[in-house]
Subunit: 242 residues, 2 copies
């Protein structure tokens, strides 16, 4: 892990890094403080495009006593493209534009290769981040891609709680992994998410194996998550990571 | 409105009252303080049986700067019985016990007469409570019976926010009233509620006309609402009543 830049903003230290060619950003308290539990910030890919929202979520987390970090997704942002991934994304957009059903085959082509590539990268990031001074486990995962969050939560015992944003299609195979998840969960659903299937999200919530799981559904589209959910998220992680 | 008893407990003044023959309980701050917004506490009927949980909810509300009050439901607790209501309840229990579907006809017989009797009583209670010193509008409704909350929220402009507990069957006619509701809502659903229909609750959430509405679904049965939802409820009412 190599830090490539750093800046202080309103008491928060923001550092860009690369790890085996994967760019990422780490946010920590700007001044010396007790070791902070880590929250991994999930997103749909494209760190530059997502930066304003990610930085806002990260600063909120740091203010509440956490460290926050994220990495770029495979084939997104400045990382090398994948022809197969772009074809799968085009197939999804074509189906949505034509008002046709999003088939399981499209979802599998879109998400399964992403999972196989991304989840080990998030785990490598966890290795590196948790070895830094000032950052401590357990860690949380917060955001989308929900399938990444599910697989991480099922596979990596360092993830002790997860906020899963139900804003993307989920392969059937991931429903099986969902049954293996046992950590406390907060699932966020936008009721009128234009890039999601509400019933599928409700079914996934039902399938998750955790005995402590809460669904927060709010009216509105994909990007319309109300501001008060940020406070709820902080309290959720405070209950389980501190 | 006539107060029949009063006691101070941990800084909370609890007073029983009767209003036109309807028993009720009012909880306010034990010492002089600024006028407090009122939260009406809904429940399934049977004040004595429900008292421990109602009193806990009320004390939490008073501690957070609200007044709280509740009244007995028609044909429940110490109030005169209704043969028709008992027959309808028996029909519901028989259907559930036999694993048969709960028909709309059973739900209508059970809930519609209750609504017609109860909602004007809650409105009379609002008249009396809001005229007391130390209590101010706007008011909130918090709890079940969800159909009572929906009709009150649709019909009475003094109700400015409502937490609706989706823990009972809802007549189809109430879905129409739900579309008229425009105030901010927090809907609580227990995912495995044994006395409820999950899909009906989700449909009702969808039907509610409010542009600010949030669903909190938690794993577990009817009485298993997690403790942290009490804090969420307080923050919800603080956002909208203060």
């Amino acid at each position: 892990m190599r830090f490539t830049s750093g800046q202080h903003l309103d008491g928060v230290l923001e550092r860009e890094f690369t790890l085996d060619g994967v760019p990422g950003i780490l946010w920590t308290a700007g001044s010396a403080s007790a070791p902070a539990p880590l929250i991994l910030l999930g997103h749909p890919g494209g760190l530059r495009r997502m930066y304003p929202r990610l930085a806002a979520r990260a600063r909120h987390s740091v203010t509440e006593g956490f460290a926050a970090a994220t990495i770029e997704l495979p084939w997104a942002g400045d990382r090398p493209r994948s022809g197969a991934a772009e074809e799968a994304r085009a197939a999804l957009h074509n189906a949505l534009r034509a008002g046709e059903p999003v088939t399981g085959e499209i979802v599998d082509r879109l998400v399964l290769p992403l999972l196989d590539q991304a989840v080990p990268e998030w785990q490598s990031a966890l290795d590196a981040l948790l070895s830094l001074p000032g950052i401590t486990g357990p860690a949380g995962y917060s955001g989308g891609v929900i399938s990444i969050g599910v697989r991480l939560a099922a596979a990596d015992p360092r993830i002790a709680a997860a906020l899963l944003f139900a804003g993307s299609y989920v392969p059937r195979a991931v429903f099986e992994e969902a049954r293996q998840v046992t950590i406390p969960l907060l699932v966020l659903l936008q009721w009128d998410d234009e890039g999601n299937d509400r019933q599928m999200a409700l079914d996934l919530f039902g399938a998750l194996g955790s005995t402590e799981k809460t669904l927060h559904a709010n009216l509105g589209g994909h990007t319309g998550v109300p501001q008060f959910e940020a406070d709820d998220a902080t309290r959720f992680f405070a209950r389980h990571l501190k």
